[in-house]
Symmetry: C2
Amino acid sequence: MPALSANKIKFIRSLSQKKFRDEHGLFIAEGEKIVAEALASGYKVKEVHHENEIGRECMERISCLASPSPVLAVIEKPLLTPDNLLEGLPGNISGRNPLFLALDGVKDPGNLGTIIRIADWFGVDAIFASHGTVEVWNPKVVQATMGAIFRKQVIYTDLADVCRKFTAAGLPVYGTFLDGKNLYENLPQGDKCGLVVMGSESSGISPALSELITNKLLIPPYPADAVTSESLNVAIATAIICAEFRR
Amino acid sequence: MPALSANKIKFIRSLSQKKFRDEHGLFIAEGEKIVAEALASGYKVKEVHHENEIGRECMERISCLASPSPVLAVIEKPLLTPDNLLEGLPGNISGRNPLFLALDGVKDPGNLGTIIRIADWFGVDAIFASHGTVEVWNPKVVQATMGAIFRKQVIYTDLADVCRKFTAAGLPVYGTFLDGKNLYENLPQGDKCGLVVMGSESSGISPALSELITNKLLIPPYPADAVTSESLNVAIATAIICAEFRR
């Protein structure tokens, strides 16, 4: 069985680190479903390794997973030019009910990946992320997207700029706060659009960005006066809000 | 600094395994918020170890976390008698709009923990779980609940029995299916109650249980004909459904 060379193994393993993903412009994706989605997408898949070809032991050495899947792909990061993507936003979005997310310091890779999967399901038009948000090509993020990463872009940029652009275009900027207003009573009755800012796991939306939120929302617990967990997980809150926008 | 004895360290470490949790009737919880919730709850906290007392190195040895928190507690598992809890259910629930979850083979500890946190937020009356569902005292489950585990019980039992009890009591049994009916158009307009069955990450609701679902639901993607991820994560779907029940 033609195993991979030591150098090749070292190279693939190095892509688990952001430094080397940046240097080579590559990232890895693991699992049959995700690799199949990569191959079907417009992404340039450079290498696919299957355990039937390289052997289980070799797969365990290149995998980032505790339980390696049978297949791993090395993929080129797409060339994103955030400035071009931001140019003209939100005005150049012609779809109905444009909905955007802005992630302010989401640190957990699983949360970011899950949010991308949610954004894909609910047809979110674009995801903006602060520079303090975990990198989208982190293997754990890729994994948690279950393939949605090949359909939804994450644009790392200054979120204050983004908020100001939406406000200037006359579009609402939403965010969740414990002293916000009931989600179910404070969205427009008909077409719903705008930017939804989601905060970090530990500290929520940063004070500087909070000032730029035009509509502060609360996902009400049940019953309203219940003694519950202090908050919902950021991906869970994102899902409930997106579902309500798309309802 | 009085570090822990080698035997004590070995004992606490052993509680990361189900076998030893079962044997000793104990589990561990880590993190300041979760340990504070444990102490404020009715649970019997046997030991609390803080890195200021035992030293960082010692904490790293007893912790289950990649980045240990400053505090770890050893806690007695509550004595649950599923039969008693099930006795008379759902009829003995006197609250308004009783809502129950049934988890059919949820394997990922993070998902189970997140679902418990959601159940706490939305005032779910009880969580049933199949015997194939991950154990609730797994440290990763405890962690993901962020403390909600001390307020919400998970009852491991035969879910087919549970479904039949609800049906016999004239209450609906819901589940999500890709060929289900639009969630937003198929719940009662007024008071909403019942049992919601959520399936496993890999294969959804098992065929045997599917037959006992009286109301098959779909969380619609947006737009309705969108090419999206094949599904939502089970915790995400649970959140959207609970939010809709409690809306």
